[in-house]
């Protein structure tokens, strides 16, 4: 598993942090990965596919020069395809090649029927080109975005804030200088998620949010309130204010269980957001420094 996004379990551990793409979805797994692991750290695991042995930087640099002079016109300066030539980084011959041995006959013979001419390059040159190609990253998975997400209208964001957010939030209170605490993308994710629930807390530090609480009303009419610890169709567990842990068996609607989620507004908004409002709010909140 290069990156983890556990199917149906995402909320347990991922909010306001990278969620991890995978064509196939991992099975449920216990325990949840550490934040470093979930962010692609995986330092304790070998790479899933062993990379080509690293080549000396000088050889890679020489290969880059040779590639630019001979190949980039068709295949692009980064070998990821150009106007006429295909992407070589993901080409089967390049993936199978080790040190130029498979690439060499293709370079020397060309593909005349496909418009690729012959190149008179020696073994050392082709080995250098191979080193350059093998040095190209394969998929860019996990590369953090360097792109600017700030496209919104801060003024419109301020208006939205004053109309929708001030029941719970204040730019001079809980959100004071929020724009200095988070990068714009993290801040934008927090606008939607509201922040991580305590049990979802992973990744970068997120604002402190009041815990989710629960009130259990027993058949006798007695009520017990505390911080929600766990909830299933069969059991509800909570921690009372004095630290006492209590749990109750559930049988349908008995006892009555009412959960108070401080982020309920954010959950209710999920299906209602307009992306433009999200972008505008982000552009406004980043100005609070």
């Amino acid at each position: 598993m290069r990156r983890h996004l556990h199917y149906f379990e995402v909320l347990i551990f991922v909010v306001a942090m990278g969620a991890f793409a995978f064509a196939q979805q991992p099975a449920t797994k216990t325990p949840a990965p550490s934040p470093a692991e979930a962010q692609g750290g995986r330092s304790h695991r070998p790479p899933a596919y062993p990379p080509h042995p690293p080549s000396p930087p000088a050889e890679v640099a020489q290969g880059k020069q040779l590639f630019e002079a001979n190949c980039s016109f068709c295949h692009g300066a980064d070998a990821r395809g150009g106007e006429t030539g295909p992407n070589l980084v993901r080409a089967q011959v390049v993936l199978d090649d080790q040190k130029g041995e498979i690439i060499a006959p293709i370079v020397r013979n060309g593909f005349p029927d496909k418009g690729m001419p012959k190149f008179a390059l020696n073994d050392g040159d082709i080995a250098a080109i191979a080193a350059f190609l093998h040095n190209q990253p394969l998929a860019n998975r996990g590369a953090p975005s360097l792109l600017d997400v700030l496209v919104g209208n801060a003024k419109a964001g301020q208006t939205y804030f004053s109309e929708h957010c001030t029941t719970c939030h204040s730019v001079t209170g809980d959100l004071a200088a929020i724009g200095a605490k988070y990068d714009p993308k993290t801040l934008q994710n927090l606008i939607v998620s509201g922040a991580a629930h305590e049990s979802r807390r992973r990744g970068p530090a997120t604002p402190k949010v009041a815990p989710t609480t629960v009130t259990v009303t027993l058949p006798s009419g007695k009520t017990v309130t505390g911080k929600l610890d766990h909830l299933s169709a069969f059991v509800v567990g909570l921690t009372e204010a004095d630290g006492t842990y209590r749990s109750f068996a559930r049988n349908g609607s008995v006892p009555k269980v009412v959960v108070h989620d401080p982020l309920q507004w954010h959950i209710d908004m999920l299906s209602k957001w307009d992306d433009t409002d999200i972008h505008n709010l982000t552009s406004y909140l980043v100005t609070l420094k």
Binding site: F8, L11, P46, T212
Partner: protein, 558 residues
């Protein structure tokens, strides 16, 4: 072999061809599996995961109790009687594969009272009466994506399973010793193999996966020798191939993905093996896969291939030009039933993209498309031909788009179930939301799964949904308590039974539901449930089998 099983098998043995007078599994029996077995990935070829057994039913399910539990340990150090295979000189060490608790996220076969269990790089045989481990096999891995293993196939006395680093391994079911192994995909192109192979007659159907712009394919091997019978590519690979006009170039098609990483269904009448294909690659941009008029065949499709010839009979594309890595590999379920007043032979799929499809399985004719995830917000609507019209504003964008489903999809590998008593299709459903960010502007750089960051920002919950296939409407929905507020929501796949029960793993509980009301009736807190529950008769008892936290659990009535 016990007396009871002998008595049960006696009539079956009479019809076996001479070559299969053995303890193992006659492939002909897969056409109508015995109730005392679970002999193939989904129990049978229809993938309904519906059992006719009634011993465990609504009136007595509250007395369902543990028969035995058997913990397993992966790797060479943990098993009893471990035999070792594999070609890696320096096998990689991966927790759950070379050591530790295995991830048992696949189907478990039960044939003649023996269970056959697999996880990435590991296989076991176990006595189904008490969970005693009979043998263990461990494969030395070269690496690859160790995401899961969906189970084994059986033919006669031989077992088959796929390794993450792309070998098909055949074992002797009696001893666990390797008969042969055969490379089924190119490791250097970053293929990885998780699929449960499926035996159909003298064909062994084998799928595989990849996340690096390599072409998808389904292969058929001779179960006896491991020789390749045919290989069907799911994308055009040369000039003149059908579907090529749906790609901007042959190079784009050859790198277009459409992996076959889940087991298909089989229709004995038409000899069609019906399976779903994966997403197009590069996954997160349509730009180098052509403008919107290019549909990228046969990605995100339900495809029917004749098992005898390896030729495609028909296809239906569920998600033309997908941009979210939402493949359509989810189990296609075969149902013979009424559709709008006429008896029809159907294939039904609830896809990762949040939409539900009903086709005529004899010819691929589209009958119905509906949205089964209310949250799915990535499309403008459904066109006249039943295809979902993608909204480009909900692609990965530089400033971010709020999109449902999340990368894992509205549903995924956890198997659905069809109950002919309620006439409803049951599926696990996740209504989550992510912010989808495009992280690279040059589309040439978005190889494989690169170029996207997806940050989960919330969920409306995780559900079991019951769908009326004639209308496509969700008629019953059970939400995992707390799954909308960050307290759980892991569902592992469904089983329905003639006892009017539905079983599912829900986080750390194995749960039995009233199949009509979806009211929970029974549960056992067995640890993180990892696979879809199964059932069979053994020695007069109906068993419910499930894996949790690396252990196998068997339940029967007190």
């Amino acid at each position: 072999m016990t007396k009871t099983i002998k008595l049960f098998l006696a009539p079956l043995l009479l019809i076996l061809p001479a070559a299969f007078l053995c303890q193992g599994l006659n492939p002909a029996s897969l056409l109508k599996p015995a109730i005392n077995s679970w002999p193939t990935y989904a129990g049978d070829y229809s993938q309904q995961r519906y059992s006719h057994l009634t011993q465990i039913n609504q009136s007595n399910v509250h007395t369902l109790t543990l028969a035995w539990v058997s913990p397993l340990t992966a790797g060479p150090g943990g098993g009893v009687r471990t035999s070792i295979g594999g070609v890696a000189e320096h096998p990689v060490t991966i927790p759950g594969s070379s050591s530790g608790s295995p991830r048992l996220a696949g189907s478990i076969l039960q044939v003649n009272g023996i269970l056959y269990i697999s996880s990435p790089d590991n296989a076991w045989a176990m006595d189904a009466l008490d969970g005693r481990i009979l043998w263990h096999y461990w494969w030395k891995s070269r690496g690859a994506t160790h995401i899961g293993n969906r189970g084994m196939a059986m033919f006669g006395d031989w077992l088959y399973f796929e390794t993450p680093d792309d070998d098909l391994v055949s074992l002797d079911a009696k001893t666990g010793k390797e008969r042969w192994h055969k490379e089924i995909a190119d490791f250097s192109q970053q293929y990885f193999s998780t699929t449960a192979p499926v035996v159909v007659g003298d064909h062994l159907l084998v799928g595989t996966g990849d996340d690096l712009d390599s072409p998808g394919f389904l292969q058929s091997f001779d179960p006896k020798t491991g020789d390749l019978q045919w290989k069907f590519f799911t994308v055009p690979m040369k000039k003149g191939d059908p579907g090529l006009s749906s790609w901007p170039s042959l190079d784009a098609a050859q790198h277009g993905g459409a992996q076959v990483w889940m087991s298909g269904s089989y229709d004995p009448e038409t000899h069609l093996y019906i399976f779903g294909t994966g997403n197009p690659t590069p996954a997160y941009t349509a730009k180098i896969r052509g403008p919107k008029t290019y549909s990228n065949l046969y990605t995100c499709s339900i495809v029917a291939v004749n098992v005898d010839t390896g030729k495609m009979a028909w296809y239906f594309q569920t998600s033309p030009d997908d941009t979210h890595d939402w493949d359509s590999t989810q189990s296609p379920v075969l149902v013979d039933g009424m559709f709008h007043g006429k008896p029809r032979k159907l294939v039904i799929q609830a896809a990762r993209n949040g939409y539900f499809y009903v086709l005529d399985r004899t010819n691929g004719k589209h009958l119905l498309t509906s949205k089964f995830s209310a949250a799915a917000n990535w499309a403008k609507g459904i066109d006249a031909s039943g295809h979902v019209d993608r909204n480009p504003e909900k692609d990965n964008t530089v400033p971010g788009s709020l999109v449902s489903p999340t990368n894992g999809g509205a549903t995924n590998w956890p198997p659905p179930s069809f109950d002919p008593q309620t006439n409803l299709f049951y599926v696990t459903l996740h209504e989550g939301y992510s912010m989808y960010y495009l992280t690279l502007k040059d589309p040439r750089r978005l190889m494989g799964l690169g170029g996207s960051e997806q940050d989960v920002v919330g969920s409306l919950g995780t559900f079991i949904a019951a769908i009326d296939y004639q209308t496509g409407k969700v008629v019953q929905k059970w939400r995992v308590p707390g799954s909308n507020i960050g307290f759980g929501g892991g569902l592992t796949g469904l089983l329905t039974t003639a006892g009017h029960l539905l079983f599912d793993g829900v986080d750390n509980d194995l749960v039995a539901f009233d199949v009509a009301s979806l009211k929970p009736l029974w549960h056992s807190h067995i640890g993180r449930v990892q696979n879809a529950p199964e059932t069979y008769m053994l020695e007069g008892h109906q068993y419910i089998l499930a894996a949790a936290s690396g252990s196998v659990y068997a339940f029967c009535l007190q």
